[in-house]
Symmetry: C2
DNA sequence: TTACATACCAAGCGCTTGCTTGGTAGTGTA
DNA sequence: TACACTACCAAGCAAGCGCTTGGTATGTAA
């Protein structure tokens, strides 16, 4: 049996939510991500988080020095997790257009899929971090952004779109991040079709029907 | 002289910021919009707002019953103001593509121009409103959205783009609202060029060079 | 057995918060 | 002169907040 989990519902699947593991620390992070998304950082009290995890509010501070450190940890974990996932998804393709589609699909999946709470926190609770913490997280995020810029620059050099790749990335960020307000994975629109539609905003109709 | 404003710096220009007038109530709203954008609704205290206006914190409640009512008023005012402005901008054009450009330009101007504080609040502090207030504001917002949907539907019927007009509107909303995080009106990129670039995401390159 | 670390509880401190209260000064108007 | 209305002040209350404190139970290893 090894290290069995006591009083669990028996499900072996899904040891992580939002990219967090099942340690006490991970459980706090996952609950925090959920609550931060639902109510915002400021309206979420440490008592709320503690209640969700099933411990006393004071015990939170055994794992994190301050409430802001919880937010920072959520942000760092989700950036790390999704950078790695996006890198892997991209590596499966050769053609820049297909790489772009992998990036778009991966980013949407991060935003509306299993890391949606934490991704939402990344966008909406960003300013709750101190300036120092913002810079540190931004530095981490740069690796992620470089994946995008490399791919977009390739496409641009190949003449697949005309406009500035930097601005284009910002327009894409807008389109994808806004999906968290309206897109539901089990609705009428398939996530792949949405990704295709966004890819078309970049390279036009020439990307259709390939593969 | 009529109704002169006492103790003003003498400037006749710009009687409104964020679409709010210069009444005591309007001054509270304008200060609140600025602070809500800068620090978020929850981190802005009524004492902060009062200090900005130059009155005591308790006096705020002579003008608004609760702090949430201030947020709601900011939201309502900015929706009303920009709906009217957008309608006027649209009415100056006949061709759907030009109407679309007027909408895009108007929305960006609202987001990064004189109503930027209030527009930012609209996006980021939305969830701080009670569900009831959210519905009421949403109903107001629907008039605004209808301007977009009518224009996009026309373009769609004329075959100027293929994809679903409803989804297209959501992608545009993402692109425009995200500009508040990166676009600066006096930077290298002209606001008109940005608008054109976004229009191109919708109707492709066929919109270029007209007018 | 001793020693130390992890994970937690129960209680509560000090501060900030939204909001209330009771009152005052200035203005309009009949 | 009397009344009403708007705009505000000064003081402070009750509740909720992040975080601290001092302690206990359990596991591990010398």
């Amino acid at each position: 049996m090894g290290k069995s989990m006591s009083q669990d519902s028996g499900a072996v699947q899904a040891p992580m939510v939002n990219g967090m593991d099942d340690s006490p620390r991970g459980r706090v992070l996952s609950a925090a991500a959920r609550l931060f998304r639902e109510k915002g950082f400021d309206r979420t009290t440490v008592r709320d988080i503690a209640r969700e995890v099933g411990i006393q509010s004071g015990s939170i501070f055994h794992h994190f020095p301050t409430k802001e450190d919880i937010l920072y940890a959520v942000v760092v974990e989700v950036i790390r997790f999704n950078t790695e996932r996006l890198r892997a998804a991209m590596a499966e393709h050769e053609a820049p257009v297909e790489k772009l589609r992998a990036l778009v699909l991966g980013e949407i999946e991060a935003i509306v899929g299993d890391t949606r709470e934490a991704m939402s926190v990344l966008v909406y609770e960003w300013r709750c971090l101190s300036p120092d913490r913002q810079s540190e997280a931004l530095a981490l995020r740069e690796v992620y952004e470089q994946l995008w810029l490399d791919t977009l620059s390739s496409l641009h050099e190949q003449g697949l779109f005309r406009d500035d790749p930097f601005i284009m990335r910002r327009l894409i960020t807008g389109m994808t991040s806004w999906t968290n307000t309206w897109f539901h994975p089990d609705g009428n629109l398939a996530i792949g079709d949405l990704a295709d539609m966004i890819v078309r905003r970049v390279v036009g109709e020439q990307a259709d029907g390939n593969g």
